[in-house]
Symmetry: C2
Amino acid sequence: MGHASIVAMAPQVTDSLAFLLSKLGQVASERFAVHLAPLGLRPRHCAVLQLLAGAPLGQLALAKTISVAPSVVVDMLDELEALGAVRRVRDTADRRRQVVEITDKGRELGRSAALAAAQVDAELLGALEPGREGELRKTLTAAAGTLGLLPPR
Amino acid sequence: MGHASIVAMAPQVTDSLAFLLSKLGQVASERFAVHLAPLGLRPRHCAVLQLLAGAPLGQLALAKTISVAPSVVVDMLDELEALGAVRRVRDTADRRRQVVEITDKGRELGRSAALAAAQVDAELLGALEPGREGELRKTLTAAAGTLGLLPPR
């Protein structure tokens, strides 16, 4: 057994999930951004649209749910409002309170974003054995859920 | 079946690998950076140290192998040289050519980086079912390999 084999058997940074996820995450995020750009959307808008598709939410509740600073959520909502995807309205239960609701255009954009994500998935998975995808998705979802990266269902 | 269930069954951005990998990648990369900081290393240095642990390389070959612009490789090598991890030397085969070789300090740093990566993996996987890790690593390695994100073994 030569020196090269011994080196290959030592723990390698590029075998770690830390390295693999960093690299794949960067590529996934760049490609997703490219697919979303024609819609005027950015990746970070997608969780917001998805959440609001369920029910209107106040800005603070929204910030809390997606674990983002309130000031960042305000920027994101400004961007989505400029696209006609959301609107800020008075809460029907408490007229002093403002909530954010999704528009029909917003629902349409949410569906287009899901299709864009599916296209990126196909690119990323193109060369994997078929059948591995479900297991991968399940494992990554479990990891992301544990780390608090997913909005509640 | 209520409205909420129908929404949950539609394809969702947060179910996509594009979204999951982006989010997990960001967390993995941030945590890895935190673990590497005390060593003076950044995540992008790790593939370089790993490659040079195999054999000395010219700057251009290095840039090509890790798919990074030559100017970026020069910066990375400057940083690693300042740490005493690599040195630029004359190629013994062709004295006009310069190659980069790893130092003992560099090998030591490479080993510490691998340990740091293993620690991040443990954090990311802490809550996953044991046994899933091997399959996940295999699938991500295949995907990263196909996308040309891994240095050759």
